[in-house]
Amino acid sequence: VKGRSSFDEGMWEEIEELLLRSDTGAAVAEEIVDELRLASGRWGKPDAEQVFSQLRESIATRLGGEPVPLQLDGGEGPAVVLVIGVNGAGKTTSIGKLAARLSGEGKRVLVVAGDTYRMAAMEQLAVWADRADVPIVKGKEGADAAAVVWDGLEAGVRRGSDVILVDTAGRLHTKSGLMDELVKVRRVIEKRLPGAPHEVLLVLDGTTGQNAIQQARVFGESLGVTGLVLAKLDGTAKGGVVMAIRRELDVPVKLIGVGEKLEDLQDFDPAAFAEALAP
């Protein structure tokens, strides 16, 4: 589309396809193109650069314009971050990265191995805790997740932790029994520490399509999601579905995962995201 001096009908279709292949979904793509057409009607003879600049602005605005920080003020006690999401999204790895970042900022961090179900889940988180140089609370394999989380919070309070990061087992939002288990984990957190959890982060795989909206809806309804982590944005997927999620549920993206190393975690910046989607 770029490199053309004037704008014609074919270009609107190209912009729509750019958005579609970024996983914005048809509804958001149509809305944005309609909005751009309306705006360009007022410009007289727009060029591609002008339209793209407007496109980027529209994307960034739809995502809140500014980065949104994590709520890590636990008042008298530790701040608790509950990390949830479907299988394989990137929860455990994201917790490792976040632990390293917060620890690097001088915070006392504790990670809790709340995935007592999947093979070698606790071992996996233990390696990350070691890399981030933070303590970890684990239970026995097959133990009740809520019980391990309770123990973890107890330990965090005793140790004077500033932040407690709670890992949970991956689960599909369609499994009501597993969603009930997660609600129970949340209740245990609320009971042990009034005001907690201070953040409930839903981790989304950046390659996920429209199903991410349903994930956000269902996890949101049952748990109350305060922010999204969009992992695996270092691939070719653009993660445009977060616009549809913001539009419907008003949940902000707070963090993005851009690789498999400890340092590969970045704050979500709507302008940078817009730039990557529509360069």
Binding site: M119, Q210, K232, G235, T236, A237
Partner: protein, 291 residues
């Protein structure tokens, strides 16, 4: 569902005449929208809708069936044909032990799928052997070893750190264990990571697999085509396993990948347990995508 969405489009057309370009065009816009919502790649949706147009326009409106339903039948049949065709089983014939490589993006379900394939093979009277060739992900080898032990399968537990070496030694151990199929679990990687794609080519050259399975997350969106094209170009694969289909993702990736690479979907992952593997049914998949 698609049927009811198309009923409005054909309100004036009941029981007379022919499906014309005009009334089909509006139906096709609805169909394209439905495919995009189901995560079918936008180019594949475009191609597919063209094929439907060619088949639907000029059809006589049948008595006793709503024109919308008639178009849906064309769509459904066209999709089943695109998804199905060849019999889709992995190639596990040849002098034992037959190597099968399992590859794909991070978190797609490879390690779990290896355990599922081992169970599937055992039920067929084969002797599977598992090789955990992912030295990168924390506790990846533990994960496969524990899965193997829980399901009574032999598994390679050597100390090597290089995936090519793990696979070479793993194949030797499989011979000693009198196994007849070897499942090589590889590390998740990006199709655009040239170094790691080269590593897969080295593994392939070392073990000479009879089958390479690309494991794809069933909720994947438009990226399905990038991933499939790059894996085909940089490595080559013989079958696809679409995982996490026990969720409510529509699975449009099945159509996209099949259409763009011609490679068949061979299995669906339908749960976390090692028995949650189903053979792929084109007609069921078509209904799911078009729901």
């Amino acid at each position: 569902d698609l049927s009811s969405r198309l009923e409005g489009v054909f309100k004036s057309l009941r029981g007379r005449g022919v499906l014309t370009e005009d009334n089909v065009r509006e139906a096709l816009r609805e169909i394209r929208r439905a495919l995009l919502e189901a995560d079918v790649h936008y180019k594949v949706a475009k191609d597919f809708v063209k094929r439907v147009e060619e088949r639907a326009v000029g059809q006589e409106v049948l008595k006793g069936i709503h024109p919308g339903q008639q178009v849906v039948k064309v769509v459904h049949d066209e999709m089943v044909q695109l998804l199905g065709g060849t019999v889709a089983e992995p190639n596990i014939t040849g002098s034992p032990p037959v190597p099968v490589m399992v590859v794909g993006l991070q978190g797609s379900g490879k390690t779990t799928t290896c355990a599922k394939l081992a169970n599937w093979l055992k039920k067929k009277g084969r002797r599977p052997y598992l090789v955990p060739a992912d030295p990168y992900r924390p506790a990846a080898r533990d994960q496969l070893i524990k899965l193997a032990q829980a399901n009574g399968h032999a598994v390679y537990e050597g100390p090597e750190e290089d995936p090519v070496e793990i696979c070479r030694r793993g194949m030797q151990e499989a011979v000693r264990a009198a196994a007849d199929v070897v499942l090589l679990d590889t590390a998740g990687r990006l199709h655009v990571d040239d170094e790691l794609m080269e590593e897969l080519r080295q593994v392939r050259a070392t073990v000479k697999p009879h089958e390479i399975l690309l494991v794809v997350d069933g909720m994947i969106g438009q990226d399905s085509v990038n991933v499939a094209e790059q894996f085909r170009e940089k490595l080559g694969f013989d079958g696809v396993v679409l995982t996490k289909m026990d969720g409510d993702a529509r699975g449009g990736a099945a159509l996209s990948i099949r259409h763009v690479t011609g490679v068949p979907i061979k299995f669906l992952g339908v749960g976390e347990s090692a028995d949650a593997l189903e053979p792929f049914h084109p007609d069921r998949m078509a209904s799911r995508i078009l729901n």
